[in-house]
Amino acid sequence: MTAVGALRFAGVSKTFPGVRALHDVSFAVASGSVHALCGENGAGKSTLGKILAGIYAPDAGQVEVFGETVRFESPREALAKGIGMVHQELSFCENLSVAENLCLGGLPARGVFIDRGATRVRAKEMLEAIDAPIEVEARVGALPLGQRQMVQIAAAVGAGARVIVFDEPTSSLSQREAERLYLLIDRLRAKGVTSIYVSHRMDEIFRLCDAVTVLRDGRHVATQALAASSEAGLIQMMIGRAIETVDVAPHPASKAEEVLRVSGLSSPGKFSDVSFALRPGDVLGLAGLVGAGRSEIAQALFGLDPAAVGEVYVAGQRVDIRAPRQAMALGLGLVPEDRKRQGLVLDMSAQSNTTLPVLERLSRATFIRKGEERALTASFFDRLRVRTPGFGAKAAGLSGGNQQKLVLAKWLAARAKILILDEPTRGVDVGAKAEIHALIDQLARDGNAILLISSELPELLRLSSRILVVRGGRLAGEVARESATQDGLLRLMAGLAA
């Protein structure tokens, strides 16, 4: 390559408690390019990004930035050398304004007092530099995720970053927000900023990036121009084998008796007048932009929204679900969208998490029968192919895919027949994703009814028998699998004419 190298990694290694995250990784990144770092969860791509941004220090090896060997002890030092990072979990003081957050490192002051005017002006300049029109007086906590990310990018660019590390930036963005981010990254490239783009989503890597580095199990597999890569080839490098693309056979809409009917379900300020029915064997997709009310509908069904009103029938009986406990007793299970916050107690063991909703069933006179608990866990771990160092291993230490399987196991153990799956494959690696897809299909074939919420349209199109589209808290339409296309769904979701 003739371009000036922006970055060079030479023999970088990093070990964490219990895992060797990176092992002898070497490659270079051309200046002004958008360089993808891809690999399965746990492959080490985020770790590498964090080493570059000064969050971790490598145990061995060298990092060169524009020809200079560097060793960062903090993100501040990295930023001083021109490296900024946009985090997976955005780190802000949510109680402060956009302007205050943007200037937090060096708040303009007059004596001991904050100079509010200067703070505003500087923040505006920083946002204008990346063409992101965001109100600088707004509290960061009140902004949608996509805008918070823009603020973070503005902070990095404003501090003089010539290299920006994006760590799975679209994992919780809506389609439209993601598009805006892509355009911004294109503009940054035009300005000569180098981007490191950590992701395992093939569509966006091909849309955005010039070159790609694939990591597997902490080792460098390949670095190549994207023009010379194919999707299948990259996936094969990521997982180390060719995958049989699990093509789920078309799944006919079920004719059996309804197990769940929802009629006119509303919750003030969240969604209104939602109606649908679910039969055994159904996989009903629920599509919509982030914030359209999909998760809110799911949580209302599960008794988590005290303000929800409307008619819900389970197996023909009118029910009034006011607590998750009631929902469970009626055979409902909810795999929530945020597994770390809502799905798991991370400090508890894999086994304790799995049996949490069903402990009463496993106990006699309040004493837990440990043998039965273990046997139940074993059977579901076996069925879902959950891989843990042991049943006693903390959930926090497991990969995203295994964590997600734990949450699924929890509701299968609770004998849920009506499963509400909210983003069941978010942040899950390619292999585990295929396994979860196969499981969802199998569960439907076994006669369970499934409500599947997903931001990934290919996932919905692959698994669902019908797809409902939610827009602005209302049902915008229902599409049968046969007539559904990605483009058509997107138009419905965004409210554009077909």
Binding site: P324, M328, L344, V345, D347, M348, K410, A414
Partner: protein
């Protein structure tokens, strides 16, 4: 199995306690027994040991309750006041009921103390759940309210309790004169019950889950209100039981009893490895934490340090104990990392 036992937090605490005991034995010196004339170690003798355990027992019992509250992510500052109110109420009930049979008054005393503890804990729990105010604030409030009730109702008098209670609390159980093992045995029993509750029962597991992640617990269909109320009830019960033992042992109850105990109790739980952010802790460790704190106080006496430094030394010891605990957790993590490094 042996390695697992060695790595456990209880074992670490127990080893520290044994080591401190050995140091005290070595430096304590001896005195001649008045009756037999045989030289006796000033620390390692049954009288001093049981006395130390007795000193620990009153707040060790409360520390077991406190550790359960702390595991649930809460805090209970009112235990010292519950202790005082339970003791005073019992003494007044027994005084006004006149001469009951000796077994009768012990039973009535126990029921009153534990009952008052139960009601106070229930009050704390209900306030925390229904007012949705942080337990620190709620129990800070009830700490003053309950002690105030004890003050007003007892008219600030110290009230004697019937002989029968003291006889029961000071029963020698065949160990010989002037040895009083009952408080120590109660402490061991409460710690054992607490350990079984936390590790073997559905409710105990729910307390850990709630403290570890209340949101995920809600999504898992747990009855959060019930869990929260029950931990404060348990804490109140423990305080009531401690009050019964304390008032019986010392023969009187007053509204100033157990002033400042709440902090010793919380310190015991924390020295025992409970995390104030919830989800972590153990009943046995809380008891050992209480024993360690008392032993440190005891060592000031045994080694003839200036007693005026007691608070400074105890304060330093608490901070050191928690820092050591964190350090050993990190060491453990690093050892795991090395093991994983070797594997790959």
């Amino acid at each position: 199995m042996l390695r697992k036992l060695l790595a456990s937090q209880q074992t670490g605490l127990a080893l520290i306690i044994l080591a401190l005991g050995a140091v005290l034995t070595f430096f304590a010196g001896t005195h001649d027994d008045r009756v037999t004339g045989v030289a006796v170690n000033n620390f390692l003798n049954s009288h001093t040991l049981i006395q130390t355990a007795t000193d620990a027992s009153f707040f060790a019992v409360m520390a077991v309750g406190a550790t359960i509250v702390i595991i649930s992510g809460g805090i209970d500052l009112s235990v010292g006041s519950i202790y005082a109110l339970a003791g005073v109420t019992m003494a007044m009930v027994l005084r006004s009921s006149g001469r009951g049979g000796s077994a009768g008054s012990v039973l009535v005393g126990l029921v009153v103390c534990v009952g008052v503890g139960f009601l106070c804990g229930l009050l704390n729990g209900l306030l925390v759940v229904f007012l949705r105010v942080h337990p620190f604030i709620i129990t800070l409030g009830t700490m003053w309210i309950l002690r105030g009730i004890a003050f007003v109702s007892s008219k600030a008098e110290s009230i004697l309790v019937p002989e029968a209670l003291t006889t029961a609390a000071k029963a020698s159980l065949g160990l010989g004169a002037s040895l009083y093992p009952v408080p120590m045995l109660t402490m061991l029993a409460v710690a054992a019950i607490g350990a079984v509750y936390l590790t073997q029962t559905v409710m105990g597991r729910h307390v850990f889950a709630f403290g570890g992640n209340p949101e995920a617990s809600r999504f898992s269909g747990l009855r959060l209100d019930r869990i929260q109320i029950s931990v404060y009830v348990i804490s109140g019960l423990c305080a009531g039981l401690a009050a019964f033992m304390g008032a019986s042992f010392y023969g009187s109850a007053s509204c100033a009893d157990a002033t400042g105990y709440e902090l010793y109790v919380i310190a015991s739980a924390v020295v025992g490895g409970a995390s104030l952010s919830g989800g972590k802790g153990s009943a046995i460790s809380a008891m050992l934490g209480a024993v360690l704190i008392v032993l440190i106080r005891q060592s000031i006496r045994t080694l003839r340090f200036d007693q005026n430094y007691e608070w400074i030394i105890v304060g330093c010891a608490i901070i050191i104990a928690v820092v050591l605990d964190q350090g050993s957790a990190q060491l453990n993590a690093r050892r795991l990392a090395r093991a994983a490094g070797k594997q790959s």
